[in-house]
């Protein structure tokens, strides 16, 4: 925090001093010094405090003031009380204005400077994140490709020298390499969500949801699920990012209902205190509310990979997208009874 310094108060103090002097001089029996000299003093002060431009402006003001009040045609300057008061008013207001403007200017400059510094820091951090994920995306996958590729080559070319267990171990190596590749991709996706620009436009979430569901059904045509998507789910947001939200939430609902006999997935909206709250509800595996706080953490999973596969990045991505839209996401669930994920996309009134 910044405190007002004595230097900044010098203008108003100077003005008060001038007033006091003039008042004092006017009360004294002898004639005061030349009012134009006082004007000159003020001009010098303005130029000294504020620089060339305020100096010029107050000089011009002094000239006009003097010309208007004190140099009536054919009349010499009179040392009257009236004239002295005018000089006094001028002597107070001009330096005050100069000082105040100078103060505001320096404050604004400082604020701009701080903004510029922060922006530079942010840009630096962003550039670092950018080059980090660039390098991750190029360099971290290559060794995985070797692990997977040479394990496969070993199985193909020298499989006869391995017994069943040996082959199984190599399969584990391959699966792990592929799992890590998925993790890297998901993490890169998460960081892309943070880096990409948010482009708001009206988005038909219902239509997006139907596309996601159609794709899921196409990949697993044998699965049967009751699907309910409400109408009129138009939101204002980034179409691509919101698509990712629905892909994850509906994808989860689809995944966690795969063992439910009469699967049911619902996507709709409810009004809550004037806000639109979107929800994705399923009657699948659900979760224990005791762990609800962990749901949206990166790499956090409430189910083992054997139960339901996944990398634990999906809901973290959802949360980040929703937060970037100024909204909030939360969930309710019960083991074996299903889960409901709700999100808003606008700033909440405080």
């Amino acid at each position: 925090m910044r405190r007002t310094s004595w230097a900044e108060l010098s203008g108003p103090l100077f003005a008060l001093g001038t007033v006091a002097c003039i008042e004092l001089l006017a009360r004294l029996p002898f004639k005061i010094p030349n009012p134009p000299a006082i004007l000159l003093l003020v001009v010098v002060f303005s130029a000294f405090r504020g620089g060339l431009r305020p100096g010029l402006i107050s000089a011009a003001m002094a000239w006009m003031y003097f010309a208007y009040f004190f140099s009536l045609p054919g009349q010499p300057f009179h040392y009257t009380d009236e004239n002295l008061r005018r000089v006094m008013v001028w002597a107070v207001t001009t330096p005050s204005i100069v000082v105040m403007v100078g103060l505001l200017k320096s404050r604004a400059e400082q604020a701009f400077q701080r903004i510029a510094e922060r922006t530079a820091q942010l840009e630096l951090a962003n550039a670092e994140l950018e080059s980090f994920s660039y390098s991750v995306s190029h360099d971290l996958r290559a060794p995985l490709r070797s692990m997977d590729g040479f394990s496969q080559a070993l199985l193909e070319d020298h499989g006869d020298k391995l017994d069943a267990e040996g082959k199984k171990y190599l399969q584990h190596v391959r699966e792990s390499a592929q799992q890590m590749a998925r993790l890297i991709d998901d993490l890169l996706g998460l960081s892309r969500v943070t880096r990409s620009e948010l482009r708001r436009e009206p988005v038909d979430l219902g239509a997006l949801a139907r596309v996601v569901l159609a794709r899921l059904q196409r990949d697993e045509p044998e699965r049967k699920a009751e699907i309910l998507v409400s109408d009129g789910l138009v939101a204002n947001g980034d179409a691509q990012l919101l698509g990712l939200v629905l892909q994850n939430l509906i994808g989860n609902a689809w995944k966690f209902t795969c063992k439910t006999p009469l699967a049911r997935i619902e996507f709709g909206v409810q009004m809550n205190g004037g806000r639109r709250v979107y929800f994705v509800r399923d009657n699948g595996a659900g979760f224990d509310m005791a762990y609800a706080g962990k749901l949206f953490g990166v790499f956090q999973r409430l189910h083992s990979a054997a139960e339901f596969e996944g990398t634990g990045v999906g809901l973290a991505t959802v949360q980040r997208i929703v937060q970037r839209h100024g909204g909030r996401v939360w969930a309710e669930g019960q083991v074996g009874r299903g889960a409901t994920f709700r999100f808003t996309l606008e700033e909440e009134a405080r």
């Binding site: 660039y134 995306s137 190029h138 060794p143 592929q178």
Partner: protein, 150 residues
């Protein structure tokens, strides 16, 4: 009968090179594969200079499989120089790399690559991708007519 043109593989990682060659072999692609290990060598080969000065300058490969992250001169720069040269500007170039970063895609296509393929981690997928790539670029695709006589 047209002579079989070579495939130019620009790849600095020996493991990736071995895997790509294996995938090509498994796909029954019989064309000669010339492997160069950095961007500078790729240009030397294509322009028949440096270590490749003795090569027939007119013999261009059927396809260049180009990695992006390369020592000395990176893949995008190699691509730009290929496109800048009259004799090689129509040469089919397929970027074959690890990333699908937006920036690589954008710059790759802006610099005039003919195709962009991301190497999958799963070798079976990789082999299948290489098979399709070979089938398309070496069999189905009709390349540009020869330009400039070396």
């Amino acid at each position: 009968m047209i002579e079989e043109k070579a495939i130019l593989l620009v790849e600095d990682n020996p493991n990736d090179e071995a895997l790509t060659l294996r995938a090509l072999r498994k796909s029954n692609i019989r064309n000669e594969v010339v492997v160069v290990r950095d961007g500078a060598e790729a240009l030397d080969y294509l322009f028949a200079r440096g270590a490749h000065a003795g090569r027939d300058r007119g013999a261009l490969p059927a396809i260049v499989l180009l990695d992006l992250k390369l020592p000395k001169i990176d893949g995008l720069e190699v691509l730009r120089r290929i496109r800048a040269e009259e004799r090689t500007k129509l040469l089919p170039v397929v970027i074959l790399t690890s990333s699908k970063e937006e920036r690589d895609l954008l710059e790759g296509y802006s610099s005039g690559c003919n195709s962009y393929m991301r190497k999958p981690v799963d070798f079976n997928e990789f082999a299948e991708a290489v098979r399709q790539l070979g089938l398309y670029w070496l069999v189905l695709n009709v390349g540009p007519p020869p330009t400039g006589r070396g």
